[in-house]
Structures are given as C-alpha cells and as structure tokens.
C-alpha cells in the first residue's frame, strides 16, 4: 500500500468556504473521475482508489490510493466485494486520513464489482468518522451482467445507505431507453457515465454557486436520508425564449424519471434551477408549478441560483426520493410483466440487511487468500430477496388481514415511516 501524491491541488478557491473531495472507487469510479477532472469542477480535490495498479497508473487524477497486499498479487479483487471490503477495513486509517480536511465528500463508484462494492461503504464510513457529509453517486450494473453482480451491488447499496448521508443511484439498465440499436458498448458506458456526472454536476452547482434561493446541503441530505429510498435524478438544460416550458418538457420525458412517473411516486423532490442574469421569477414559477402538479404528495424543496456565464440558458436539476425503493430497483431491472406483478403485490419497504461483517485479522487474511478457491466462495449463503418482518407475538396466531394488508405488521413499517 502506498499513497502517491504527485502534486497537491490548491486549496479550494471557490466562493464557498466548503472544501469538497471526490472519491472515485474502482475502475468505473476512476473513469468517471477522469471525465470530471476538468475546469468545471475546479476547486475540488480528486482522490482515486483502486486495487488494480495498472488502471490506477493510467488515471489523470493526482491523488491516488492503491490498496494492495501481497495476497492479491497485484491482480485486484477479482470481482469479490468481500476481498475489497476486507482490504479497505485493513487500511481504514489510510482512507480516513485521506478523507480528512473535507467538509463534503462525494463517492463515485460503479457497484457490482469487487472494488466499488467492497470499498465504497468503508470509505463512506471513514469519511463519516472524520465528520464530513457523505454523498454517494453510484451505478448499478446492467441486468445482463448477471445475478451475482446485481446481488453484490444491492448488498453494497444497502451498506452505503446505512452509512452515507445520501445515496443517489443510477440503475444502468435505465440507460437502455437513451440508446439505440447501433450504440456501441463503449458509448453506452459513456452515456451512463455522463448521466451520473450530470447528477454530480447538479449537486456540485447547488453547493458552490451562490444561491438566490439557497438550498442547504442539509436539505439535500435530509431528502435522501432515512427514506429507505432509491433516489432518481435528472439534469436538463434549455435555451431560448420558451426555455422554461422546454425544460419542463424535457424533465417529464426524461428516461431516468420514467417519463415523469418517478415524480408522481416520489415522496420528496428537490429542484434546483440555474439561469443567467435574465432568469425571471415567472419562469421559476412556471417550472415549479408544472413539477408541483406532477407530485402532489411530495415534499418539495426548491432553490434558484444565478450564474452570469449561463446567458440565455436555464438548467434544472431534479432529485427525487421515493419509498419502497428496493423493490423498485429490482423491478426496473426486470421484464415489464414482472414489474407490474410486483407493483400490485403488497410491499413493506423494509428489507432485512445483514450488518457489515466485521473481520478479525485472521479472517481478513483468509478472505483475501481465497483466490483460486472459487468454488469455496460460491458456497456462501445468499440473502433471500424477501421482505421478512417478524410478527413477534402474533407469529403463530391467525393473521389480521384487512384489504390484503397484514395488520399484525407494525403500522410504521407498512407505511414506510422512517425512524431516524
């Protein structure tokens, strides 16, 4: 393990006094970080973390952390998140020191593989311990990547949600709506990446640009936290005289919002608008009115900022959080028939998650050295994808069913009320 600091980026020079660090974890995370490493994100610190030395060397990011032990023999985690996890736990102090000095930490990663899924939750925890606010932007794998990766991604997502202040996740499968038959694999991944970066940019602008109607970072975290939620986001830009109408139309047609359906289902929506000096109140009003009409049940948080450079342009960032998200994520990765089936079945919004496994030193060694014994790792017990809620004392008595709802299950769970 070594921390290579090739050159120190200057301390934040933005108008806000907040210092922000971006952590790209795993191959996907690093690729995204490379794409973000441009003048638009000036003032942020980038940190790349990976287990694979070759890809780390190719990155343009300045601060790199190479997680490595002898047992991996320089070959990375081999897609096993437990190895990544154990490795990160081992070097927890290094990660923590890398997190120090930042007020806000963004984690960018692709879940499903070994490094992204294994390390991200640990980094989030390390960042949390330094007192920073943690926001994770992650992608979920395409469903064609197989069950195992999906499962690993889901597990990691749950872990992330339990430690990070906010998790915004993008199921890659959704980008299929954006691409056509002839799009190459490379382009497809680029599209996914760009979508994620757009989201990061939206939040970044929210935090760095001076706001007329400010959105505090706390608002954002409050929106994402404790809703057992998957959040969806969209970032659109429009120009011209009819830009407000165009922006709303684009939003409602946005594939990541399921053509506006995500809005209707959401329980909280954050809208941030950025425009040039010519942004009028009427335009702000029009956009908000339209969005409000599509989500009458949701709590809406709005903000507006002025950017002199955005002449004649209006950009809208929208982040929604909805309940019962776990089932939804899975549904979106499945066929439409299955999706509708799940929609009708009662859901309880809560899934039992196993606590993050804690490893002793020996166990860590064992896990890491398991390379070559693939069959052994296959024998691991998988989690059942069921919402299991123990009914305690009523376990064996006749259930009280009212309109298909089992009333023996605590009300707050059936209604998805968060206890924070």
């Amino acid at each position: 393990m070594k921390v290579k600091t090739e050159s120190q980026t200057p301390e934040t020079e933005m108008n806000s006094t907040r210092s922000v660090k971006f952590f790209g974890i795993g191959n996907a995370g690093m690729t995204l970080l490379d794409a973000m490493n441009c003048e638009e994100f000036a003032g942020a610190n980038f940190v790349a973390i990976n287990t694979d030395a070759t890809s780390l060397a190719a990155s343009s990011v300045t601060v790199k952390i190479h997680l490595e032990t002898k047992l991996l023999r320089g070959l990375g985690t081999g897609g096993d998140p437990e190895r990544g996890h154990a490795l990160a736990e081992e070097q927890f102090s290094t990660l923590k020191s890398a997190c120090e000095g930042a007020d806000v930490i963004f984690i960018v990663a692709g879940l499903g593989g070994g490094a992204g899924s294994g390390i991200s939750p640990v980094v989030a925890r390390a960042a949390k311990e330094t007192g920073a606010l943690v926001l994770a932007f992650v992608t979920l794998p395409f469903s064609c990547e197989g069950n195992r990766r999906q499962q690993q991604a889901q597990q990691s997502l749950e872990q992330l949600k339990s430690v990070a202040d906010g998790v915004i996740c993008l199921p890659s499968q959704k980008t299929f709506k954006l691409i056509d038959e002839n799009t190459s694999v490379l382009d497809t991944f680029r599209v996914t990446g760009n979508l994620l970066i757009e989201g990061v940019r939206g939040v970044w602008q929210l935090l760095t640009r001076p706001g007329l109607i400010q959105i505090h970072f706390d608002d954002l975290c409050g929106l994402l936290r404790d809703r057992h939620s998957e959040s969806a986001f969209a970032f659109v830009e429009a120009t011209g005289a009819a830009r407000s109408r165009e922006a709303v139309e684009k939003l409602l047609a946005h594939p990541l919002l399921d053509e506006g359906r995500a809005l209707a289902e959401s329980s909280a929506v954050l809208v941030s608008m950025t425009g040039g000096k010519d942004l009028t109140m009427a335009e702000v009003n029009r956009v908000m009115e339209q969005i409000g009409r599509h989500c009458d049940h949701a709590q809406i948080i709005m903000g507006a900022t002025i950017d002199a450079a955005m002449k004649n342009k209006l950009s809208v960032t929208l982040i929604t959080a909805k309940q019962n998200a776990v089932a939804k994520t899975e549904a979106s990765a499945n066929s439409p028939e299955e999706m509708s089936l799940r929609e009708t079945a009662p859901r309880y919004g809560v899934r039992q998650t196993s606590p993050t496994p804690s490893f002793s030193l020996d166990q860590r060694e064992q896990t890491i050295s398991r390379r070559g014994r693939r069959a052994g790792s296959k024998m691991l017990q998988a989690q059942l994808p069921l919402a299991i809620v123990s009914k305690g004392r009523f376990d064996k008595s006749e259930p009280t069913i009212h309109k298909g709802e089992d009333l023996d299950i605590p009300t707050y769970i059936r209604r998805g009320v968060p206890l924070n």
């Binding site: 123990s390 004392r393 006749e398 009280t400 206890l419």
Partner: protein
C-alpha cells in the same frame, strides 16, 4: 349472606386480563357491584383462547378473588366473547297478518321475529345475538310495539351478531370445565355499550369503541337501537409488539415502556429524549428514543381509528352519531387518545364512564372494567325480564339457550 338468586356475575376472558364482576340486583331493579376479581391472562391471543390450561388457571384465580371479595359462591356467569370472527349485520323479517280483523297479536310479533332470525349463515357459524330494532306495519316506520295495531303486513329489523361456533365453544367449554354454568354469552362490545351509554345517548346516536388488549370492538347505536357492530383484531398487544420490533427490546419491556412513556401523539417535549432500560440489577441495557416510541404508537392508534372510520363510512352511519364517541378498554388509557380520534372520526370523543351502576364506584370507574360491568348489567336486564317485573327497554333478545344446551 346473600340470596344467590340475586347474584349476577359477568366474566370477561380478555387478552390481557381475566375479570369477573359480581353484581347484586337490588329491590328496584338496579345493579349493585359487590365484588371484582381479576387475574393476568396468559392463554388468550386476540380475544380468543389459545392455551386452555393457562386460561383455565387465570379464570379460576379471577373467580376465586371475586368470590372472596363479594362473599358469595359463584355458580353462573354471563360470559363475554369476542374475536376477529365475530360479525354483525342487519336483517329484516316479514310476516303477513292473517287474522280476520287484521289486528296484530302477540303471536304475530313472535312469528315475525322468528322469521327475522332465520338467516342463511355458513354452517359453522352461530348467532350470538339477534337484537330487535324497529317494527314496520304496512311499511310504516318506527313502530316500537305493534301489538294491537291494525295492518296486513308486519316486518321487523334485527341486528344479528354471529360468530364461528367452535371458537365460541372454546371459551364456553373452558368455563364449564370449572364447574360454572354459562347463563348466556354476550358480545363484549355490546356489554361495554350497555355499561357506558345512557338511554339519551343511545337515542341521539353514539359510537362505543372498546380498545382491548387483543381486539377492538365497536358498537353503533342510532335512534335507541343497535345499528352496527364490528370487531377489529388489533389492540394494545399490537402496540407492544410494534414497540418490541421497532425499538428492538423484549416484549415484556415493550409492554412496560408502552405504559410508562406511551402516547397517542408525539409530544413535542420528548423530541430527542431517551430512556435507558436497565436489567434487574440496575445496569443499563439499552437506550430507547422516546420520540420513536411515541411515533410507532401514534401511527398504530391512528390506524385503528382510520379503519373504524372507514368501516362506518361504508355503512353510512357517520351522520347519525350526535352523542359522539365513547372510548373504553385499556386502550382508552393511552394519553391524548381522544385528541387523535377526534379529527379522524370528526366528532367529540370522550372516555366513557360507567354511570348506571352503584357500589364500589370509584374503584371500578376505570376503562378496563367497562366490559365486565356491562356483562353483569346485561345479566341484570335478563334477570329482570325473566322475573317479568319490568319490560326490557333495550329489547335484547338472547337466542343462546339452545346453543348452550347443545354443547
């Protein structure tokens, strides 16, 4: 000491406690409570017996205690029943008056009531009560006593409460196993309403909600008669269970927390407040957030009222309840419960008081005892009717004699 024929005993085998109330009928027909016995119930879930041996023990203890306090020997009881299987509905019986002069006789009245009770029930169900509401003579509404009137067609509305035969028999058999006779079985909700409501309130229209340990019974009176009965198999047990699950504490602790810190609304004052639960040695075990506790509870309480409100709205009874809502049962003790119920039910809500009994008043005027007192009161109505001293105002008609002998 007492003449046993005047002794009436109400026995409620509840989910949280078994309660026996001994009443004595005084000379002018009123009921005087002379003894109470109670015991923690361990063999009952959701209002129904699930462990006969334990329930038998508990009933025996309660009866013995009541006997000692009242200094009588208990031989007969009026037994309260409840459970999610109990349903109520209204039925109408029709009878053509065939006599030459078209005068309605007593026999005609008996016949029409018999017709109203002839109901198509599933074979495994049995009628608990068939309560007379109003007579109609040639379509004329609101006749309370048609004997002597002229008419060609006599109709009567009855409210029928029925339940699953075997599950009703479980409780009866248990009591009979203790060498006690069951005079009659009574739906708990009906008993509670008898204990709480005055005739004026019944006339105005009232809703009685009895939130017990395992079930919530509710009864609607409109125009002096019972129009609707319902049972919701949710009660205080569910709140304890929710807390045990949500706060991750053992059930017994959850029960204690519920009693000590429970509330039907989330108090602003408890935001961020915590309580530490300790083990028997006084060492701290776990810290519990009081706000979470109250939120879990308030959601459950709200839901109970929402379900009842929905049910009554479907039955179209909301506009007739001018006397308001009366709460009883252990659940009525939850702080601020009336405040939660009022906006949901949209009428005044109060904790019911057992007005129409005398003796041991202060000790008994507590929501938990309402059902048992009501059972004794039901018994006193019956007794009076049997003796033929006064006509029975409530017109409650038990049909359980045959059913009891069969068992």
């Amino acid at each position: 000491m007492f003449d046993d024929s005047n002794i009436i005993v109400g026995l409620e085998i509840g989910t949280s406690k078994v309660c026996a109330v001994v009443g004595e009928q005084n000379a002018d027909g009123g009921l005087n409570i002379v003894g109470v016995g109670q015991s923690r119930s361990r063999g009952v879930r959701k209002g129904e017996v699930v462990d006969t041996a334990q329930a038998e023990d508990d009933v025996r203890n309660a009866i013995v205690e009541a006997e000692q306090m009242a200094d009588v020997e208990i031989r007969n009881v009026y037994l309260g029943v409840t459970g999610g299987h109990i349903r109520g509905f209204n039925n109408r019986g029709v009878h053509p008056v065939v006599s030459a002069d078209r005068e309605i006789s007593d026999d005609d009245v008996q016949d029409v009531i018999k017709n109203a009770k002839a109901i198509n029930l599933p074979t495994e169900n049995n009628v608990v009560h068939a309560i007379r509401q109003h007579f109609f003579v040639d379509g004329q509404d609101g006749v309370t006593n048609p004997v002597g009137m002229l008419g060609s067609r006599l109709e009567v509305d009855v409210h029928v409460v029925h339940g699953h035969t075997n599950r009703l028999q479980n409780a009866i058999r248990l009591v009979k196993g203790l060498q006690l006779e069951v005079d009659e079985i009574v739906f708990n909700g009906l008993a509670s309403s008898l204990a709480l409501l005055t005739n004026d309130q019944k006339e105005l229209g009232a809703l009685v909600i009895d939130i017990g340990g395992g079930v919530t019974d509710y009864v609607v009176y409109v125009g002096g008669v019972i129009k609707y009965t319902g049972v919701l198999a949710i009660g205080g047990d569910h709140m304890s269970n929710d807390l045990a699950y949500g706060l991750k504490v053992p059930l017994s602790r959850a029960e204690k927390l519920k009693v000590e810190h429970g509330s039907a609304i989330v108090n602003e004052a408890v935001k961020g407040q915590t309580v530490t639960i300790t083990n028997e040695l006084g060492l701290p075990l776990k810290t519990v957030n009081v706000e979470h506790l109250q939120r879990i509870m308030s959601l459950r309480v709200e839901e109970i009222f929402q379900l009842i409100a929905q049910d009554l709205e479907n039955a179209g009874l909301f506009d007739y309840l001018r006397a308001g809502v009366f709460l009883c049962g252990g659940g009525a003790r939850i702080p601020h419960i009336a405040k939660v119920a009022e906006p949901i039910l949209q009428m005044p809500v109060s904790i019911g008081q057992t007005n129409s009994v005398s003796g041991l008043k202060s000790a008994l005027d507590q929501p938990e005892f309402v059902t048992a007192i009501g059972l004794a009161k039901f018994g006193s109505f019956k007794q009076r009717k049997r003796e033929g001293k006064t006509s029975l105002a409530a017109g409650i008609k038990g049909v359980f004699g045959k059913f009891l002998q069969r068992s």
